[in-house]
Amino acid sequence: MRGITKRFPGVVALADVTLEVGRGELHAICGENGAGKSTLMKILSGVYQPDEGDLEIGGRPVRFSGTRAAERAGIAIIHQELALVEDLSVAANVFLGRETRTSLGLLDDPAMHDACGRLLASLECQVSPATRTGSLRVGDQQLVEIAKALSLQASIVVMDEPTSALTESESARLERTIRRLLAGGTTILYISHKMDEVFRLADRITVLRDGRHVRTVARADTTPREITGWMVGRELADQECRQTRTRGAKLLEVRRLTLPWPEHPRGYRLSDISFELQAGEILGVAGLMGAGRTELLETIFGAGEPTWTGEIRLDGKPVRFGHPREACAARIAMVTEDRKRLGLFPDLDVAGNVSLCSLHEATRGGLLSRRREEELVAAPVRETGVKTPGVHASIMGLSGGNQQKCIISRWLLTQPRLLLLDDPTRGIDVGAKAELYALIDRLCRAGLGVILTSSELPELLTLADRIIVLAEGQLTAEFSRAEATEQKIMEAATGGWPDRLGSSRPDVAGDDRPGLRLVPGPRDDRPPIGKDR
């Protein structure tokens, strides 16, 4: 790809980027969010057309008018947001648009079923090709996408942050698959932030920053610190909040919280959860997808199913919120996990998004006043460090990190005393993450209590004072920061009985617990591809 330039309204996504990839190599592409990695790959796979520049494959110039053309040229892309049709079976998705037909021209389901089965087997996936795609876990859905790419017999496969939604074992499985593909001669372009993965797999690494090409090096010639340095334009020391925070009074107490789930064989989303939180403390919640972290936060916030039993006490008084409004009134705030689906209002500007929960303060004489709204949002926007062309800019034009900061600003305006953060740094680049960590730390010192969910263990170990671990709806472990290690957390999260040494759990007799399944079966997670309206 040579001299590629791409402009979108208001922003130059790529400026004169040149990328050369050798055949059969795994070429990693690194960069912060907004650096242009996804855009570049979308151009390669035909989703976008470049404004300037050209592409060459195998020495021949090509031009793709659409994804179909790119597919014909042997390029397959596995997007970060999976592009599967939930209601169709796995086999149907794999062969979508290129269905096998019988001699009569009708669909040849058995042939597709078999072919799909073979592909899945080669990927170490145990899912049956007839399963409805929507019921699979994210990890398996991703493998379906890879199977689709394989069935195309693509010579170039682009993977955009493939492990962001995977568990450790699934990531390992994916790596094995990648190695197999490489051995077969496929070229792989791999977009990722995770330095450990990149350094395990890549042959060469390209760094993009702000839509420009910064550097391309061979893996052996560089270090993770150098790469992250190029990504942010400076070298980052690992941020750690070393100083301990003082804890205040007991803010939140959860006792024997149980959330039933009638449709599922397990029967519950949360079972018998008990923990405490003090003001000025950060409680980390670790666990795999489907463990119930989001449900826990939603239940506390009053946004989940109202069928829960148990007790939630705020400042010692029992509360039961039927609607998020009531939780707001009690000065609890929640920043949801999927900001695009659950947090942002695309038709409102930045000011509108930030002021939404505190509109009554932006009024003058009962009517909204533009000036007062601007004044109101100026402070939190500055404090959280949102980079925006203006407070009336469209929120969809901001990068992911800035959008997340806007949502946090929104909640900060309500002056909460308990802040629930559900995976707040997902999809945010390294620089912005560091800023968010500092922000959360500051808030805590000011007396806020924070419950923080995250899939990144290092993040939890950096931020949290204490960490509880959920596995399949049950609380399996609780650690203080001192005693927590990634190993222990992962063991607790995967359902193994925790090592009793060094854990401090409120005591529950071992016999009371229903047996945990040690072999993971198909789980009915909340599907990541949300259907609205």
Partner: protein, 402 residues
């Protein structure tokens, strides 16, 4: 900080709305010129009155439709609500003053006031019903309002027939209105126009300047996020649907005054689509979260100007073509807004096999319309011309992106 904003309005109206103003002016100018009578030129006042009256009648419940659409819903039952509202008012007046109603005499201010109040109350109840069906029973808005589209009209008819059967000698499918209050409303076109103006201003303030208005936009933009931000979405929807139904009720009163009869069988039939068209032409997005009052007002004006232009130019049998031309104009208005994106995004207007079939379809449509209005020769010529033009477009597109 630099301010190249993209979300808020520029000078007073958005560019799309200024373009709509321009389109209205051009349509009027063209009609004035092309019309053989030059009615606009020599007798403008009557046409102004007619257009103003029709715009006000349409606009009143188009504003309601706008609020519902901005909140992310849709209301297909406005036309039937109009019928029901007129019937409720007439039935109330009939119940309070049967002799006067039958004898074409004034029914008295009290009866009129109670009738109008009953009408608005009916609107509130219907709006509540919609909100309940949509939030508690979880019906999609399309289905819920589709059900009331057919149900309310039938209810109105049953109400009319049973009340006339009970209170008058004969069962009837309509109730005549002859009270001087309604006659005044009918004669003075500036009354509905003034009511429309006030309602437009109130709605504009509501949508842009109140917390509730902001919540409406948020709800339409992203319902789940709105709930998680602490907005009581059920209550906001209740408001939106009640607003929609009550504006339809108000419009129903004007319809009744205008026709001097409450005739639930056909009154307002199909008019909800005109209201939605006015809102969409004025810039509302059916996905929710987007829309303005000036846009809807201009959209209503534009639609009525086009319809009047059709009547003026095709003097006799104009209503035969009215639907066709309004349909075409609405499609063009909304499509042209996306034309810019089509051109830049590299998407083709006439792709593949579908595009190839679209060429003769559009050519035949064009030729058919023209030959019906201007004669066979002109029809064939325009069909050929359209086919050539579209063929050229396709050729150019295929050259552009190999």
């Amino acid at each position: 900080m630099p301010q190249p904003d993209t979300a808020k309005s520029t000078f007073l109206l958005r560019p799309g709305e200024w373009a709509l103003v321009l389109a209205i002016v051009i349509a009027i100018a063209l009609t004035a010129f092309v019309d053989a009578n030059h009615s606009y030129w020599f007798r403008p006042l009557e046409s102004v009155r007619d257009i103003a009256r029709n715009t006000a009648l349409l606009g009143i419940f188009a504003l309601g439709a706008t609020v519902v659409i901005i909140a992310g819903g849709i209301d297909l039952s406005a036309g039937s609500m109009i019928a029901l509202s007129g019937t409720v008012c007439a039935t109330t007046m009939l119940a309070l003053a049967p002799a006067q109603m039958m004898g074409f005499k004034p029914v008295g201010g009290v009866a009129v006031a109670v009738g109008c109040a009953a009408s608005l109350l009916a609107g509130f109840l219907v709006g509540t019903l919609h909100a309940w069906l949509i939030t508690a029973v979880r019906l999609p808005p399309f289905i819920a309002t589709l059900a009331t589209l057919v149900g309310l009209r039938s209810l109105a008819r049953a109400l009319c027939e049973s009340s006339t059967a009970a209170l008058t000698p004969t069962k009837s499918a309509l109730i005549n209105i002859s009270d001087p209050f309604f006659k005044t409303v009918r004669d003075n076109v500036w009354i509905p126009v003034a009511v429309f103006g006030v309602l437009a201003i109130v709605t504009w303030i509501l949508l842009t300047r109140t917390v509730l208005g902001r919540h409406l936009h948020a709800l339409g933009g992203n319902e789940q996020a709105a709930r998680l931000a602490g907005i009581r979405t059920d209550n906001v929807k209740w408001f939106a649907y009640c607003f929609g139904a009550m504006t339809a009720s108000l419009a129903g009163l004007f319809y009744m005054a205008n026709e001097s009869v409450a005739a639930p069988v056909n009154q307002g039939r199909g008019h909800e689509l005109n209201a939605i068209a006015a809102a969409v032409v004025g810039g509302c997005s059916l996905a929710g979260g987007v829309g303005t009052v000036p846009g809807t007002v201009l959209g209503a004006i534009f639609l009525r100007v086009v319809i009047d232009a059709v009547s003026k130019i095709i003097k006799t049998g104009a209503d035969v073509y009215e639907g066709l031309i309004v349909g075409i104009v609405v499609v063009i208005a909304v499509t042209l807004a996306q034309l810019g994106q089509l051109a830049k995004g590299g998407r083709r207007l006439l792709p593949g096999g579908l595009g190839l079939c679209a060429i003769p379809t559009l050519a035949v449509l064009c030729g058919g319309i023209v030959s019906m209005t201007a004669g066979g020769r002109a029809g064939m010529a325009s069909a050929a011309g359209a086919a050539l033009l579209l063929g050229f477009v396709r050729f150019w597109e295929s050259r552009r992106t190999p």
